[in-house]
Each structure stands twice: as C-alpha cells, then as structure tokens.
C-alpha cells in the first residue's frame, strides 16, 4: 500500500497559493500521491484546476481526483479534455476518480437534477472513456450497488468514502465481489481515504473544519469528526488496518491548512 496526502483545497479560508507550495513539499517529503476532493457549494478550489497547478510544480507524485462529481460537468467531452490536459501536464500521473457524490446542494448550485445523477454519470462515462488518453487511471467512488456495477464495468479501481479500517474491509469485499462477478481478471485497485490533523492545537481546528465541511451530513458529522486521525499512533494504526484489508492507495486529507501538516505526516515511519 502506498500513502499519499490531500491538497488543502477544500479547507474553507485556505489560500490558493498554498496548493503549489504544498504539492512541492509533499513530493520532496516522499509522499506517493496528492489528492483532491470536489465540492461546488462550498469555499474550495476546483479540483481539476488545482491538480493542474500541482502537476506544474511536481515530477513524480501521482495526482488523484477522489472523486470528481461527474454529473456537475455535463457530458464527457469537457471533463475528458480537462483530464487529458492535466494528464499531459503531469506526464501520465493522473488518477481520475468519478462518482455522484452525496450532496444535493452541489447539484442545485450547478442546476443539474439530483434525481438523474446515476443516469447522467453513466452517460458521461460512456463518452469519457472513448476520449480519455490511455494513461489516465479511472476509478469509481461510491458504496451503492449501482456504483459497484459501474466500477466493475468501466474502471480500473474503486475509491471508498472514508471510515475505520473494518468499514473499508467490508466495503472492499463488496467491490472485489462485484469485480469478480463481472468477470474482470485480477482485482480492482482500491483507494482509501482518511482525515488527519497533527501537532499542537491541530485536532480542535481540524474538527471545526470538518464540522463546517460536513454540515450537510447530519448525524454522521460526529462520526466523521471522531474518525479524524490526530496522533502519529492513530495514523500508523489506520495505515496498518487499511493495508491488511487490501487497500492499494491510501490518501490522508488535511483538515488544517498549514504547511507543517505535510512534514508531520511524512515523518511518520509507518507510512513506508
């Protein structure tokens, strides 16, 4: 399992200038991947554009959109061009995650009917796959049966929504079953997510940021906040659990927009 870090693109109030600096620092620190989230109705950076900035200042680190809410972006043509551009800038280091996302307000902001999200994503995928360069790794996010069927049909892998290792394990089993049921050889590449905040006072700031970001999630917010990894030991344990459950790529997203978070994460020996 490889471990990467999220870019600070969806922490409200974070400076956009932090993104390229963060990308350089993460690559220098040896982290495997830079991840971005996608959120329209929130103070955040657009994920493909942010990845383009990261691509311009890095050489080796993988760039992963985990995941882009496909239906917000119309048919496949525009997204395919964006992805091809990022992939060209990154010389083939792009992983494009796609899903329908859990938030109605993003759809309202984009003027896209929430009820049609699955149909729209399927149509977009058909279009997208014909146009994407071969070196873009496509993964699908979402835990429902329709998402797993979509994953097994079209993609190279699957992205879990985050949570403790045992939840990842159960969900990953279903993804592997879907893959096998579809008659795909081998196994899907499995991506896992987590949130972290390290250092003095970081946990509190991180929980505040998560509370704002996940205000839409209702009762689940408390669970998400409680799952935030706030110590090196918690991160080591999380990594071990995910690795054992068969995760291929784990990306830990920051909740505090300070550059020291990159170093604090990279210092943890268990990541390698």
């Amino acid at each position: 399992m490889r471990v990467g870090i999220g870019l600070p693109t969806a922490i409200a109030g974070a400076s956009a200038a932090l993104t390229p600096a963060w990308a350089r620092r993460a690559e220098a620190a040896g982290l495997a991947t830079l991840g971005v989230h996608d959120r329209l109705a929130y103070d955040s950076l657009e994920p493909m554009t942010a990845l383009a900035a990261a691509a311009a200042v890095t050489e080796r680190v993988r760039l992963a959109a985990l995941v882009v809410v496909g239906p917000l972006r119309g048919g496949g043509a525009v997204l395919a061009r964006q992805a091809a551009t990022v992939a060209a800038l990154a010389r083939g280091r792009l992983t494009l995650g796609l899903g329908v996302g859990p938030r109605r307000d993003d759809y309202e902001a984009a003027g896209v009917p929430w009820e049609r999200r699955g149909t729209l994503l399927d149509a977009q995928l058909g279009d997208l796959l014909d146009r994407l360069p071969g070196d873009v790794e496509v993964v699908i996010g979402g835990g429902g049966d329709a998402a797993l069927a979509r994953m097994a049909r079209h993609s190279a892998g699957w992205c879990h929504g985050g949570g403790p290792a045992r939840a990842f394990r159960a969900a990953a089993d279903r993804a592997r079953i879907a893959w096998s049921d579809a008659g795909r050889p081998g196994q899907p590449r499995l991506w896992g997510l987590g949130y972290f905040a390290l250092g003095p006072g970081a946990a509190e700031a991180g929980r505040l940021a998560l509370g704002r970001y996940y205000a839409f999630a209702g009762a689940a917010v408390a669970r998400i906040e409680a799952g935030m990894l706030a110590t090196p030991a918690a991160i080591a344990e999380h990594c071990a659990g995910y690795a054992e459950a068969g995760c291929d790529e784990l990306v830990l997203f920051p909740t505090v927009a300070e550059l020291d978070q990159v170093d604090r994460l990279a210092e943890i020996g268990a990541l390698r």
Binding site: P102, R104, D122, G126, L129, D130, D145, A146, L148, A149, A152, R153, H154, S155, R169, A172, D173, R174, A175, R176, I177, A178, W179, S180, D181, A182, G183, R184, P185, G186, Q187, A215, F216, G218, A219, E244, A245, G246
Partner: protein
C-alpha cells in the same frame, strides 16, 4: 402539527418541543388516549443503543425499562432449538405511549384526541404538517399525486394476538394441522405478556375457513392449534382481524411543508423489526434536521429524507427476503429441526460465522445433524483471464475445478484472448476438471476485460454478432443479428461438438453458460427476447432454443451437466420468480443435473446487490421451491459462505469466488 398520535409522531413532538419550547405543536389523534392497538413493541439492541446515544432525555424515561432477551427459540417438529446471542428488547406499546404522552403534556405539546383530520389540505397554513398517521395515512392519501405511494400486498395472512403465557425469549412456533401449517412470532414484553402473531399461507387460510372467522373464532382456533405450546394459557385479542401485510414505498416523503414519518412513509414486514422502531428513528431524525436548519424547513426536510432513506431501504431489503421466507415456509416445514432453524435464521441477516460466534453449540449441532462434508461440495473456477497454473492449483485443493468460459465456436468468442478446450488437454487427464462452454452472443468481439467490459474491437478485427433479438448489448456495442432457424441449428451443433470434445478430452463435468447477457441468455430474459416467433413470448417459448442446445450437448456428454443462468436479471422487467422456477424445471426435465444461479449483467443497466452470498436466495428458490438441484454462485468467498448456504439446504454445491485482500 402532527396528524397521528402514535409513538413516532409523539416522539417527534416531544423532541421538537424540547429543542425549541417556542414552537407550537399540536398532535391530532382520532382515537381516545386509552385505546390501545398491538401489544408489545420490539427493538434490537442496535436500535436501543442508537436511541440512547442520540437522545439522553426522552429515551431513558421511555425505553430504559424494556424487557430484554438474548436467545431466539424455535419450536418446530416437536423439538426446541435455541440460538443465543441475538439481543432484543421490547416494551408494552400502551406504556410507551403513556410515557410519551406524559412528556408531551409536560412540555406543552397540545394533544387533541378523538379528532379525525378529514382533509389535511386544509391545514397547509401550519409551518409543518407531519403525516405520522400509519399505514393507511390520510395525509399520504390527500397528497397521493405528490408522494406517489406504491403499496404491495403480501401473499401471507396474519393476525396480531397476545398471550399471558410467560416467555423468556423471542420465540417462533411452527405447527401444522389438517388445513396446512402456521407460524407464530412471539415477542415477550412483560413477564406475563407477549405479542403473538400468527401467520399462514393463503391456501391454508382458505382451507381452514378463516375468512369467515370472528375474533372469538380466531382465538379458539389458534388456542387449539398451539395448545401444546401454550401450557394452558390463553391467547388474547385486540381488534385482531386477519390481514395481509402491505409494504408501503414512496419515492419522496416530503412535499412543500408536508412530511411523512413512520408507517405513513414506509413499512417493512414485522419479522425484521417493528414499524414503531423505524417511526421513532424517523421522529428523531426529523427533529434533529429541524434543529440543524432552524430557518430553512425545506432543507431540513431534504436532510431528514437523506438521512433516513438509505437506512429504511436497508430494512426494507431485509424485510423482503424475510417476508419471502414466511411466504414459503410451508414448503420446508417438514425439514429436520436443525436445518429448518438454520434456514430460518440465515434468511436475511445471519450467516454461519455470525451465528457460530454467538452460539457455537447450536451451530455445531446443525453441522452434526446435516452430515455434510462441506468441502466436498465446493467447485472452484479458473480466473476469467485464463490461468492454467492457477487452475491446476485449484483442482488440487478442491474436488472439482471448472475452466473459464470457453467459446463453442469462433463467432462465439468474447474477444481475441478467449481460451479453447484443447488448451486443457495436458491437465485434464490428471485433475478433476469441468469445462465451461458458452457463446458470447451480443457481448462478443470485445477488447480484453482487464480494460473494462464490452469495449468493441475495431471494425477490422470484429465479427458479426448474434442474439435473440437485434438489440445491441451496450451503447457502444455493435447491433447483433436476430438468429434465424439456420443459425440456431448451427449454434446447437457447435454446442454438441464442444460437449463431445470435452468428453473426449476427459472432462468430468460440463457447465453450459447461458447467463450474463450471452447468446442463450438473450433468449431466456424478457429484457432481451423480443421475438414474436415460437422462440419469443412466455417463458416456455423463450426456453425452446436453450433447451434444444441442452438436449444436443447432454446427448454428447456422459458426465454431470450444469446449466448456468442469470436467475435474476437484477433489473426491472427482467426474469420473474415464476419464470425462474419454470425455467429450472424445464432444464431439469431436459437432463440438466444442476442449475447454477448466476445473476445480472443481462444488460449494462443491471444492478446486482453485491455482497457475501448475494445470490444464494436465488439458488434456494431453484433448490427448495422448484425442487431442482442448484449450484449457488456469486459472492461465495470462503468455506464459511459455503456452510451458510449448504447447511440451510439452499444448494447442492457452491461455486467458490475467493476474493480477498491480495
């Protein structure tokens, strides 16, 4: 204002009033406060824990004194089977309502009894109108055009009774008489009281003449029927008519300022938990959503529905399989008690390992009684990309291993990397191998599956495709030609030749692959067969060509022959359950030793319910309902899954699908 003063509505009113005492909340209830319906209300340990965590004020007063029990007791065939470790709790419905009313009253919620709300549309001046008025909801009815409810009437008949016989656990009775068989669900909620629900199938109900029964007749009949279990105690009635369970589903639960809650919005068969439990969870979620968006009712209602809908969908999915069991139990009531109870307990949630962890002695008894050598019933399968070394390893470890699906002819290939029977010539002499053969049909001429499914080869590399009807498989697939009789003769002969070749090479077992949208599958599924000749229409006609292929292959192969079909298309408009049973019986009559329950992939729109053993119940239909030996497949990931399926008698054998961390 709330229409309906049941537990869900009252709980919501209490929580909402406590959170903001300035709210004016009125609850209308058409009955008097001391009218009670039903006896006890059941909650699982998980629900009790959830409510305790989310609500530290009302919950302790209302539910903390519930009666708790651990084992499930099954009394069947003169034997008592107990399985431990399954925690439940129950409270008396009347006391639950009393406590909720006390709290509502103390907080200043206005309670109006004996008041029907004749037309809920006259109350749209309220800031929020909560329809918590039960399965026959007037509020839902008044806005039926917006809520678009779907109500499915179940196949069984049941009556809600009580008893004063003491019980120490959740108990199920199964009893027969000259009319048929009956089951009873018994939930103790006081030391001397239990809910006692009697359920039976339609035929038994009619033979017993229950449709003419009054309440006293029901009591007398059921007391006689269950006399051996009642130890001289009585059954009690409370408006105990016989009903058919109605499952309510609505595509939306809110419209403008009107919102549905509890049974008004959704119901699920009582065998997986009470509607009261879901209604109270709804009430909690709605109150929390209103707190989260105090100035935006619309968003709060969206949040409420987003929170509750997936959970309710999960319960309804479990209820569906459980209800299926109750609708069919007369078919397996004669089984030995261990197998019967294991079949019952594994009908929706429990599996071999979860039960073994809770009650190892019970599971050991089931295993002993079965006399099964589970490992001898496992069939392994070569990886789909082809891997002879792996196949050899599998065949050394398991009693039988099948090849991946091999095309019977050049135009039956899925792509350029398909295997051939001859590839196995070196292995088949020394290992127990089975051959899987098929024809890809409209899914032919595609690129390698490691890149994704159904990506057509270039025009230069591709070949013409065949199908029952000229429907392309996916949006990018080529249009296949509808087969004519000459095509059918040729394909039938190709299958016969492949069967003969497999026998000559020394394969011991043959599986004909008629599933997953391949050529023969397109005849079987109504989604892909639009023919108007003798091969289209009802299932017996759609099966005509697949049966001809089976006949031809069967004649050439002396060993065991299985036919794999998509036992469900996992898609609306797909193969019905009645058609599945008919198809299985036809395949058996034409010499299939087994029918293998694959599923889905009939079209790209199929959505199978992926998970451990996700198609085992389909195998069970073939095996127990049609009486045709079945092979279970799909998410059978380890020997534990195999035990779950075989000990319950849902299949003869299992295709192992050993996914797991690599």
């Amino acid at each position: 204002m709330c229409v309906g003063g049941g537990p869900g509505g009252l709980y919501f009113a209490v929580l909402a009033k406590r959170a903001d005492p300035s709210r004016r909340i009125t609850v209308y209830e058409r009955d008097r406060p001391d009218d009670t319906f039903g006896f006890g209300v059941v909650f699982s340990d998980a629900t009790m824990g959830f409510l305790a965590e989310q609500d530290r004020v009302t919950y302790p007063a209302v539910l903390a004194h519930a009666t708790r029990w651990d084992p499930i007791t099954i009394r069947h065939g003169g034997r008592v089977v107990r399985a431990g470790g399954v925690g439940f709790a129950a409270v008396e419905r009347r006391r639950l309502l009393e406590r909720l009313r006390e709290q509502a009253h103390a907080l200043g919620v206005e309670l109006v009894f004996e008041r029907e709300v004749p037309d809920p549309r006259e109350h749209l001046d309220a800031d929020l109108l909560v329809g918590c008025d039960g399965v026959n909801s007037a509020v839902r009815g008044a806005f039926a055009d917006q809520f678009r409810p779907r109500v499915d009437v179940g196949p069984t008949r049941f009556s809600w009774l009580g008893t004063d016989r003491p019980f120490d656990s959740l108990t199920f009775f199964f009893e027969g008489n000259e009319h048929g068989c009956f089951g009873a669900h018994v939930y103790p909620y006081r030391p001397d009281r239990a809910t006692f629900i009697v359920e039976t199938d339609e035929q038994t109900y009619r033979r017993a003449g229950i449709d003419a029964f009054g309440e006293a007749d029901t009591i007398a009949y059921c007391e006689r029927l269950f006399a051996a279990h009642l130890d001289g105690h009585r059954l009690l009635a409370n408006r105990s008519s016989w009903q058919r369970f109605r499952t309510v589903r609505c595509p939306t639960w809110h419209h403008g300022r009107v919102v549905l809650l509890g049974d008004a919005a959704h119901t699920a068969h009582f065998s997986v938990g009470s509607g009261t439990k879901m209604a109270m969870e709804d009430g909690l979620a709605l109150a929390q959503a209103l707190d989260r968006f105090p100035d935006d009712v619309d968003r709060a209602l969206v949040a409420y529905e987003d929170e509750r809908r997936p959970r309710v969908a999960h319960v309804q999915a479990m209820a569906r399989t459980s209800f299926d069991w109750w609708a069919g139990f007369h078919r397996w009531v004669a089984w030995p008690p261990e197998r019967f109870s294991f079949h019952f307990l594994t009908r929706s949630q429990f599996r071999h390992d979860t039960l073994a962890a809770r009650d190892p002695a019970y599971v050991a008894a089931v295993e002993r009684a079965s006399g099964l050598d589970v490992e001898s019933r496992v069939i392994a399968v070569e990886p789909p990309g082809g891997d002879l070394d792996e196949l050899a390893r599998l065949a050394a470890r398991h009693p039988l291993a099948l090849t991946r699906v091999l095309p019977v002819s050049g135009d039956g290939r899925a792509g350029l990397e398909d295997g051939r029977l001859e590839d196995y010539a070196g292995l088949v002499g020394r290992l127990a191998l089975g051959a899987q053969v098929g024809h890809a049909g409209p899914r032919g001429a595609c690129g390698p599956r490691r890149l994704g499914l159904d990506r057509p080869l270039s025009a230069a590399e591709a070949w013409p495709l065949l199908a029952a009807s000229p429907l392309p498989y996916g949006p990018r697939s080529a249009v296949p030609r509808a087969m004519d009789e000459a095509d059918m003769e040729r394909v039938r002969d190709d299958f016969a030749l492949a069967a003969r070749r497999a026998a000559e090479l020394g394969f011991r077992f043959l599986q004909l692959h008629f599933a997953h949208g391949s050529l023969l599958a397109t005849f079987i599924s109504p989604l892909t067969n639009r023919r108007d000749d003798r091969h289209g229409g009802p299932v017996a006609r759609r099966m005509r060509f697949p049966l001809a292929v089976l006949d031809a292959a069967r004649a050439e192969f002396p060993g065991e022959v299985a036919v794999a079909i998509s036992a469900s298309d996992w898609q609306p408009g797909g193969l019905s359950e009645a058609d599945l049973l008919a198809a299985a019986l036809l395949l058996r009559a034409h010499g299939a030793d087994f029918v293998t329950a694959l599923g889905g992939w009939t079209t790209p729109r199929a959505v199978p319910p992926f998970g451990r053993c996700h198609q085992a119940l389909l195998a069970g239909k073939i095996q127990t309902d049609a009486g045709v030996p079945a092979i279970a497949a799909g998410g059978v990931t380890d020997l534990d899954d195999v035990r779950t399926i075989l000990l319950a008698g849902r299949a003869e054998r299992c295709l192992l699908d050993p996914v797991g961390p690599h």
